[in-house]
Amino acid sequence: MSNLVVETTGREVPVAKAGEWVDAENGWIDRRIFWQDDIYALELERIFARCWIFVAHDSQLPEIGDFLTSTIGQDAVIVSRGEDGKIHTFLNSCSHRGNRVCFAEVGKARRFTCNFHGWSYGLDGSLKSVSRPQSYDGNANFDKAQLGLHPARVESYKGMHFACFDPAAPSLEEYLGDFRWYLDVILDNDEGGIEFIDGNIKSRLKCNWKFPAENFVGDSYHAPWTHSSALIAMFGKQPTMRPERSYHANVNGHGWEFGLDFIGNAATLNSPQIIEYLREQEAKFAERLGKVRSRMVGALSSANVFPNLSFLAGHNTFRTWNPKGPSETELHTWVFLNANAPQELKDEYRRGVMLTFSPAGIFEMDDGENFENCTSVNAGVVTRRQKLHAGMGLDSQIDHDELKGNVYQSQINEANQRAFYLRWADLMGAETWADVPVR
C-alpha cells in the first residue's frame, strides 16, 4: 500500500455555514453548535487537531523520563521529557494494532512498551524494539524509523508547553500573539516564574466544552448571581465590580476579563498569608509588569486561551476542558504558585482552590449545574432553533494607551465571548490555516 493521505474533512457538514452559526457582530449564537454530532466531529478536526493545546507545565516533568498522559481533542497523547531534555508529545496508540500504550496518568519511564505484542517506544515516541524481531527479517516495509508513535509539534511559552498536530499551523508565538503580554501577568510577575503543585483533579461534566470555555473567557456577569451563595458564605456580601476600572481584552480568540482591584480573586482563598504575600510583592510586580498589569495579578478576573485552557489569576488555577463528545467534557484542574513564593503558601493555594474552584469547591459546584443544563436542553429540536443572545457591550470597544489587543470597557461584558465564538467560526469555516484571519 502506498502512503495514501485520507482526507478526513470531506463530510456533509455545512462548512460554508460556519459563519452563520455565529453572528459575532450582532451577538447571536446558534445552539446547534452545542449539540450536533456532525458539528462536534468537525470541531475535533478543525479546532483540536489544528490549534495549540496546552499539555504540561515544565515543573510537572522536571527529569528525563517523567511523563503524563493527556488528550488533544479526543486523541490520547503521552507527554514526556526525552533523553534530549525536551518535552515530546505523541499519540498514545501503538503503530502495530493501535492498542493504548501507556495506562498511567503520570509517572517515570525509560520506555513505553505495548502490552499486546511488545513493541517498545522511546521517550520521544520513536520505535526502539519489537518482540521476536527476526519475524520481520527481510521484510522491506518494516522500517522502524517510520513506525514511531505519531508526534505533535511542541512549543512553549514561559514554561507552558503546548502541542499541535497541524504542521501548517502558525508558531505558538504567532498563535498567542499579544496575548503573551497578558499571560506574563501570571507567568512572569516574578523572576522565578511559576510552578505547578503536584496532582491534577479530574472530573466529568455532561456539557459541551464551549460553555465552560466561554464562561472563563469573559463571563464575570454570572459571578455575583450564580455564586451568590458562596460569596455571602465567605464575605456576607457581593464583590464590587467597577465598570470604569475593569475590562475585556482579547487577541485571536484568547480573552481575559479583569478588574484592576489587585486581590479580588485571591481574597476568596480564605488565606491571610496569600494576601500578605501579594501585598508585599506589589511594588515588585509593578516594577516588572508596569502599574496596570501589576494590578491584575490577583484581581477579580477569568481568562481562556483558545480553545480550552482556562485560568484564574489570584486563585492560581489552570484548567483544561477536554471534549469527550458534544455533551461531555473532562475537566482537569491544577494549582500553581510563584516558584519563589514561600513554600508554606503551597498548602494555602492548594487548599484555597479546593475550597473554591474544584468540583467540591463552593464556587465551582454551581457552575457545573449551569453548563450541563445549557447543553442538555438542546435535545429539543424547537429549543435548538432559538438563537442565544450574546449581545452585551456591543459598543464598548475602546482605545487604551497601555492594554494590548482588542480592549473593551467594563468586565461585565460579552465582547470576549463574541471573540471566542468568532475565532471558533473562523477555524470551522477555514480549509487551511491560510484562511484563518489574525484577530
Partner: protein, 181 residues
C-alpha cells in the same frame, strides 16, 4: 508507610460488641444527617481538630509512587473552619442549584472497628456509597473506602476526629460533590 499499613501491623484484639454497635450507629446516624442536609447537626459530630481529607486518586504504575499522597491535589483537605464555610454556602437560600434539593443517599457498609494506642480512640474502616439524584434523570454515584478515627469525647459522646476517603474513581464521574462522604 500509610496509616492503614500501621493499623494492620499492630495487635488488635476484637473490640466489645456493644462498642461496635455504638460506633456503627454513630456512622449510620451521620449518614442520615447528611441525607437530610442537617449540616449543623453533622458538624456537632466532628471533633474540633477534625481533619477531613479526600485526596485525588491517580492511576500510577505499581512500581511508582503512591496513588495518593499528602500535599498533592485533593477534593477536600479540610479542618473545621473550612468545613464550616462549605456548610455556610450550602445553607444560603441563594444556593440556586440546591432548590429543588438534591436527593441524597449515603449507604455505609463493611464497618470494622480496631483499637488504637489511645483507649478513647478507634480506627474505623468502612465503605461508603453516595448516590445523588437531581431533576428527572440526573444521577451521580460516588463509591469510596473510608478510614476514620473515632474518639470518645469528655462528655461521653463519640466524635469524628479524622476521616480519609479514598475514591474509587480517578476521574470523578460527576459535575460536583455537593455533599460530604
Amino acid at each position: 508507610m500509610n496509616q492503614s499499613d500501621q493499623i494492620a501491623s499492630c495487635d488488635n484484639p476484637a473490640v466489645p460488641i456493644v462498642l461496635l454497635l455504638e460506633i456503627q450507629q454513630f456512622l449510620y446516624r451521620e449518614a442520615r444527617l447528611l441525607d437530610g442536609e442537617q449540616y449543623d447537626e453533622w458538624l456537632e459530630l466532628l471533633a474540633d481538630d477534625i481533619h477531613y481529607w479526600v485526596p485525588g486518586v491517580q492511576a500510577r504504575y505499581r512500581k511508582d509512587d503512591a496513588k495518593f499522597s499528602v500535599g498533592r491535589m485533593a477534593f477536600f483537605d479540610d479542618n473545621l473552619e473550612y468545613l464550616k464555610i462549605r456548610v455556610a454556602r450550602a445553607k444560603q437560600p441563594s444556593a440556586w442549584a440546591e432548590d429543588p434539593p438534591t436527593r441524597h443517599f449515603h449507604l455505609v457498609g463493611n464497618i470494622e472497628v480496631e483499637k488504637t494506642e489511645n483507649p478513647a480512640e478507634w480506627t474505623v474502616h468502612s465503605l461508603i456509597l453516595s448516590n445523588r439524584h437531581r431533576t428527572e434523570d440526573d444521577e451521580m454515584e460516588i463509591k469510596a473506602r473510608r478510614v476514620d478515627l473515632v474518639r470518645r469525647d469528655q462528655d461521653g459522646s463519640l466524635k469524628l476526629a479524622r476521616r480519609k476517603v479514598i475514591l474509587q474513581q480517578t476521574v470523578l464521574q460527576s459535575k460536583n460533590i455537593n455533599t460530604f462522604l
